[in-house]
Structures are given as C-alpha cells and as structure tokens.
C-alpha cells in the first residue's frame, strides 16, 4: 500500500499555509513529519484525515485517486487519526469514547453495554493500556491516560494508516515506552504510521523515514541513520543551533519564595521548598504526581488544606491569584487552551490580560501605550506572525500561543515565575529560545520553577531539581550532579 500526496495546497481565508506539499508513505513504515511550530504539520494531517479540505492537489492510495470530503471518507479508507488537540467527549465513559463509531448491539438494535465494556477492555489490554478501566468517565482521567484512550480509539478497527499528531507530548516514562512498543508492533503488522513530534530524539529512534516541513513546504526528507538531531533542528529553523541549553552559573541570590508543609487532601502532602532569586529549579515527576495541583495551590488559585506559601520579605497565604500576582508570582499553566488563553480574543488582549490596569489613563485603557507594550513583547519573544497583535489567538500555532502566554506573565514583572510544562508541543528552535529566555530572566534575578515531564529538559535547563512522587517531594539534587536514572528512581519511588 502506498499513500501519496501530490502538490497539496491549503489556505485559511486567503492565507496560504501549505504551498504544494508532496508526501509518500508505504505500508509497514513509520513516517515522521517534523517542522517548527506553525510549519503546517497539523494542517497536513487534517487534510489526510478528511477533517479539512485541501485547496489544491490530490491524494492517492495504491495509485488510485481518492476524494476526502469528510472524516467519514477517511475512516472508510482505513485512515485513523489522533489529533494534537485532545478530542475525547469528557463526560462519557472510556468505552463510549472508544466505540462511538459502532457499538456492539443486541437483537432489537439496543447497545449491549456489557459486551461494549468487554470489547473496550480487550482493546485496551491488547495495546498495552490495560491499566485504564473502560467504565471511567474520560474527563476524570489524567491527561496522559486521556491521550492513551485517544490512541486506543484510533485502533478500534485495524487501521491501514495511523496518523499521530504529537502523541507523546503528554506522555512520559512507562506510558511512553508502551506507546513506542505499540507503534512498532503496528508497523510490523503493515500499518503506515505517520508520526508528528517535536521530540527529535524520539523521532530518530522510531522513524523509518523523516520529512522536514518548513513554512508549508517540504524542505527535505531523510532517514534516521543519515541525520542527527542538530541537523534536523538546523533544517527546521533555517539556521544552526549551537547549543540547546544555556550554560548555567549557579549564582543564586536571596531566598524569594518559601513553601512550607503545603498539603492539599489527596493531591499532595507536606511539600516544602525554597526558591532563590536568580535560580532555576526543576520540578520533575511522572504524570499525575501532583505537580500541577501544587503549582495552582502555591499561586493561590486553589486552597491548601495545610501549610504556608510566603514571598520572602513579603506577604504570604494567597487566597486568590490576584494576591499572588501582586506579590510577584506568575504561573504559566500546562493547559494553554483551558487556562492560559482566551482563544477568541486577540493576541494583544491576551498579552494584556494580567496587566489590564497597568495601561490606563484615568479610567480608560490607553491604547497607544498598550500597543507599544504588546509590540515590544511580540518582538522580544519573536511571536509570529509579526502582525499577530490584532489576530485572533486561536489562529496562532501552538508554539506561538505558548509565547503569548509567556508574554502576558512577563508584563506583570514577576519575581517568581512558575512554568508548568512550558515546552509541551513547542518545536526545538522555539524551545531553545524559551530556555534562553528563562536563563535571561534568572540572570535578571527572577526565580523560576520549571515543572516538566521531560527529564533531559529538567536536567539541562535548571540548576537544581526537585522530584515528586505521589504528591510528596521524594528527592532533591543539583542538576549537574545527578543522572537521569537517579532522578527516575526518585520519581518512581523505588530506592536504588
């Protein structure tokens, strides 16, 4: 089986996003598609999946031209897709989400629920996700589990082509290994797997061939054996990146934030740590270890059941985010769409959201000053496109959305910046920029807490790392004096 795209073009309201993309995939192959944020990967995938019509070009399967007018057409041809954006129905059970397209029925046409649950369980087990109870309401699962359900959903009836758009972004540890094993098994069974990811190490490990997309064009295709991470980054970014993580000098200053004995029933227990000015501290843990809850609690967005948060030489015990912000805290949450942005508003509106009262003249917002501030941030963080200020945030690519969130918080002039998975779904080049920005901020005296499930990142970009396991801090180490294995051991909870 061969899947071919020829000269695919796509524009959104006149803005050209894909400029004639060619792509060939064969059965039993893992075809990786890489590219910077906004390069057009997701758009390409939506076209493959029938979720978006192409403006021009053609698609062939086995040499035969196919028309894809709806996701239904794609399903019928055995193309199954896992989208970048989560797309489960949160209120329904895992079983329903999995079998939505076709339930087992009894005579009379009614759904046979016991059979449905059994089938869902069987499916989850067969692909190594047996830990998920199919009766659970999908919205109550952790993000990682939801992602696994999402993948399982694509495998309900043997696909011929499986398209995965950044499936690993929210996975770590054993979950990630399970996913890789699954992909390899599918490939060996003759499935074509189209794989999009910003984690290049992963791509090199998994892919049979790699296609690099830049600004809506294919600018190269290669094989893992013939390239390197650095070369790929260079291709994607259009320039060479010398170094991913800036060299850190651990010149930590005065204490900036004290967290002592902080607990919140069921989520985390007795968490204590201190952040210092000029310091970047990583907080590593497996997905679901309670880090995000902790961050929200420190930020005053959720009440603690015990313990205290205090800004050094300042107030503590924040009961609202407003108080925390006033004291110099800023929080970039892990869920851009859900709690980072107002997607329907302009980028300028979003960037100014936390500092609405800072640009007023009298009771009114001073639009001139506001425009200047926004332009400054857009330039400083290189948010693209450059004229994005008046664009609806929804239309920005994921990485640029993330930068807009960051811009919003930098404008508050924080002393302590908490970043929860800030590089999830962000391309390598942009990551490097983000690391450099974090580094710059720390040099200016900010203290940064970097929450991440990416071990390499946690060790590479920070001075010190805290490890969390099941709601407790189980380890602490200097980042340059600890190995990945040691950190993992703390995170999993086994003593080495």
């Amino acid at each position: 089986m061969i899947l071919e795209l020829r000269g695919v073009r796509k524009d959104y309201a006149g803005v050209q996003v894909l400029h004639g993309v060619d792509l060939v995939g064969r059965r039993g192959e893992v075809l990786a598609v890489v590219g910077a944020n906004g390069a057009g990967k997701s758009t390409l995938i939506k076209i493959l999946a029938g979720a978006q019509p192409m403006s021009e070009g053609e698609m062939r399967m086995d040499g035969e031209r196919v028309e894809m007018r709806s996701p239904h057409d794609a399903h019928a041809r055995g193309i199954r897709t896992v989208y970048q954006e989560m797309s489960l129905v949160p209120g329904l059970s895992v079983t329903e989400n999995l079998l939505m397209g076709g339930f087992p029925r009894r005579r009379g046409g009614l759904i046979d629920w016991p059979a449905a649950h059994a089938r869902a369980r069987e499916l989850l087990e067969s692909i190594g996700f047996g830990a998920i109870d199919p009766r659970t309401i999908a919205g109550r699962l952790s993000v990682a589990r939801q992602q696994m359900v999402e993948i399982a959903k694509a495998l309900v009836d043997e696909p011929r082509v499986l398209v995965l758009d950044e499936p690993s972004a929210v996975l770590a540890g054993t979950d990630l290994e399970a996913l890789f094993a699954l992909i390899r098994r599918l490939r060996d069974r003759g499935v074509l797997v189209v794989y999009v990811s910003h984690r290049l190490a992963e791509v090199l490990e998994l892919a049979d061939s790699i296609v690099v997309i830049k600004d809506g064009r294919v600018i190269g295709s290669t094989e893992p054996s013939r390239t390197s991470e650095n070369e790929l980054i260079g291709l994607m970014a259009g320039r060479r990146l010398e170094q991913i993580y800036p060299a850190r000098r651990a010149d930590r200053g005065e204490p900036a934030l004290h967290v002592s004995g902080l607990s919140r029933g069921g989520e985390f227990e007795d968490v204590s740590f201190t952040l210092h000015a000029g310091e970047i501290v990583g907080l590593f843990g497996l997905v679901g270890s309670g880090r995000s809850e902790l961050a929200l609690c420190v930020f005053g967005a959720e009440p603690a059941s015990a313990g205290e948060v205090r800004v050094a030489g300042g107030p503590g015990g924040f009961r609202t985010p407003g108080q925390a912000i006033a004291a110099g805290l800023a929080l970039v949450t892990e869920d851009r769409k859900g709690s980072g942005l107002v997607l329907g508003m302009t980028v300028a509106d979003n960037i100014m959201l936390a500092t609405l009262r800072a640009t007023t003249r009298g009771p009114l917002i001073d639009f001139g000053r506001r425009r200047r501030k926004v332009a400054e941030m857009v330039e400083r963080l290189d948010i693209r496109p450059a004229h994005c200020a008046s664009m609806t945030t929804l239309h920005l690519s994921g990485g640029n959305q993330q930068k807009a969130v960051l811009a919003k918080w930098l404008l508050t002039g924080p002393r302590v910046l908490i970043l929860d998975e800030p590089t999830r779904g962000v391309d390598m080049a942009t990551r490097v920029e983000i690391y450099r920005m974090i580094d710059d901020l720390a040099r200016e005296g900010l203290s940064v807490l970097l929450i991440s499930s990416d071990l390499t990142e946690v060790l590479g970009a920070t001075d010190r790392v805290l490890v969390m396991n099941q709601g407790r801090i189980t380890g602490e180490a200097r980042s340059d004096a600890v190995t990945e294995d040691e950190v993992l051991t703390y995170a999993i909870g086994r003593t080495a």
Binding site: H75, A76, V89, G91, L92, R140, L296, E302
Partner: protein
Amino acid sequence: MTDQLAGPAPATTTARGRRLPRLVVGGRDLTVQAAFVTLIVLLVATAALTSDVFLTPANLTNLLKQMVTTGLLAFGMLVVILTGGIDLSVGSVVAFSGIVTAGLVAGLPIPLAMAVGVATGIGFGLVNGVLVARFGLAPFVVTLAALTTIRGLAFVYSEVPIAPEDPAFFTLGSALAGPIPVSTLIMLAVFLAGGIFLTRTPAGRSIVAIGGNAETVRLAGINVRRHVALAYTISGACAGLAGVILASRVGIAQPSVGVAFELDAIAACVIGGASLAGGRGSTRATFGGVLVLVLINNLLNLYGVQSFWQQVLKGLIIIAVILVQRTNRVRT
C-alpha cells in the same frame, strides 16, 4: 450503565472547592441522586403530614394529570438540551397542534386528526432542527423566532377557541386506566422509551456525545447534523403530543394556550441536574424535576397560598433546590 447520561463538567470547573461527605455505593458516587430522592421524599412527606387533602385519591389523580404536559415537554427539552441547544418554541407548538387537531375533528376521524396534530409538532421540530443543524444558527434565536411564528400561525388558523362536539375527543385526556389517567401513562411511556433511547441506542448516545464535544463526534464519522435535527424533531413531537392531549383534556383548544410552558420544561431539566451547555442530563432526574415542580404547585395550592405569593415562592424554591443540588455535586 447508570442513567446519568454523562459525567461531571470538565475538570476546570470541578477543580476547586471543598470536599463534602459522599455517598458511595459499589464504587459509584450516588450523593446527588440520594440528595435528590431525599428532596422529593421530603416534599411528599411534608405534604402528606401537613395537608389532609394531599393523599386523597382525587388529589393524587390531579397530580398525575397535572404532570402530563410539563412531563412531555421536559423530555423533549432534555433531548435538545443534551445536544447543547434549547427549544423555546414548545409552548406555541402545544397551541398549534391542539387547535389544528380540534379543527380537524369535524372532518376527520379523531385518531387521524390527533395524528395530524402530532405531525405538525414533528414538522415544526424538524424545521427548527434543520435551521440549527444545517445552517448553524443559534438554537435560542431559531426557536425564539419559531415561538413567535408558530403562535401567530395558531391564531391565523383560528382566532377563537375550537370546541369539538364529539365527546370521543375528550377520551384521550380524561380516560382512566384503573386509578391512573391514560394521559399520564402515555407520558410515562415516553419517559421510559426515551430513557432507553438515550442510554441504549447509538442515535441516543450520539446525541449525548454531541453535547459533550460535537467536533469529536463529527470526526468519529457520525452525522452530527442529522442527530441534532433529530433532537429538535423529538422535542417537536413531544410538544405536538402534549398539545393534542391538553386539548383533549380541556375539551377545547385555544390558540393562546401554552405561553411560557417552555420555562417549566427547562426548569424541570435543570432541577434534574441537566447542564444547559449540553452533554449532561438524565431522563430519570428530569422526571424527578417534573415531580418537584408539580409537587410545589400542588402544595402551594393546597396551602391556599395566594397566587402572587405562589410565584414569588416558586422562584425562591427553584433557587433553593438547585442550590442544594449544587452543594451536593461532585467537587474534587
């Protein structure tokens, strides 16, 4: 499979808040259901203890009769609400189907006339559904316009009430099966069949899923438009049926009947815990909501509360009920 058609609101809204004591049976959290049943039991007990009329057969039959219209409309409304929509036109459809049926009785056999009445409801529902589903118009506005248009059409059909002479016209509305009115049985049958439809058929599940995340359902290859249109058609059918039954019960069809009926139907769904954002609601709890409303009305009447104060109290009680419900909702 529980009757609660779908789970709690997305994580962001449930993320904050206190922990309250929960009632968990066999791994399922039944606190909300239990609180709700308690509420109804409390209402009934208060009524039974404080009024010697409440438990008389006459009053109970009354209660059963009085829940028919709200019940039928509430079920149809629930289906629409599950998709994330709303149907404001049901009161006008009640008027239209009733007056058309009464008007046709002169020339057609009664069952046929009634079938035509229900069919007009189906027709209006379908038009609403197509406008919402096919053209992507806001349900609130489409059905608001329908409310006005259909009410006008009812008056255009007949400005004056129509009272069919044939006493057989009254049968549907006044017949009893043992102690239970036939109309109540019809309403219960609708709820029963509706419950099965929503929990156990692919179409029903699709409707629930659409309210949760329509794009996902579309990407799963399901025809979202058709299912949304179906939901409004069901609501129209229920309203048509309610109109026919009401006309038969009153024995006279008025073009002015049914003003603000939609509000009680919506209130019943919401008291039953349905989310107006779609995707969450249960037939059983909606039926509970109907019970609560009818009980409140009946109680206020039995206590002889004066009409204006009835309105004041009814509003306050609704707030109280959803407040209680709210406090009991899952807060993780």
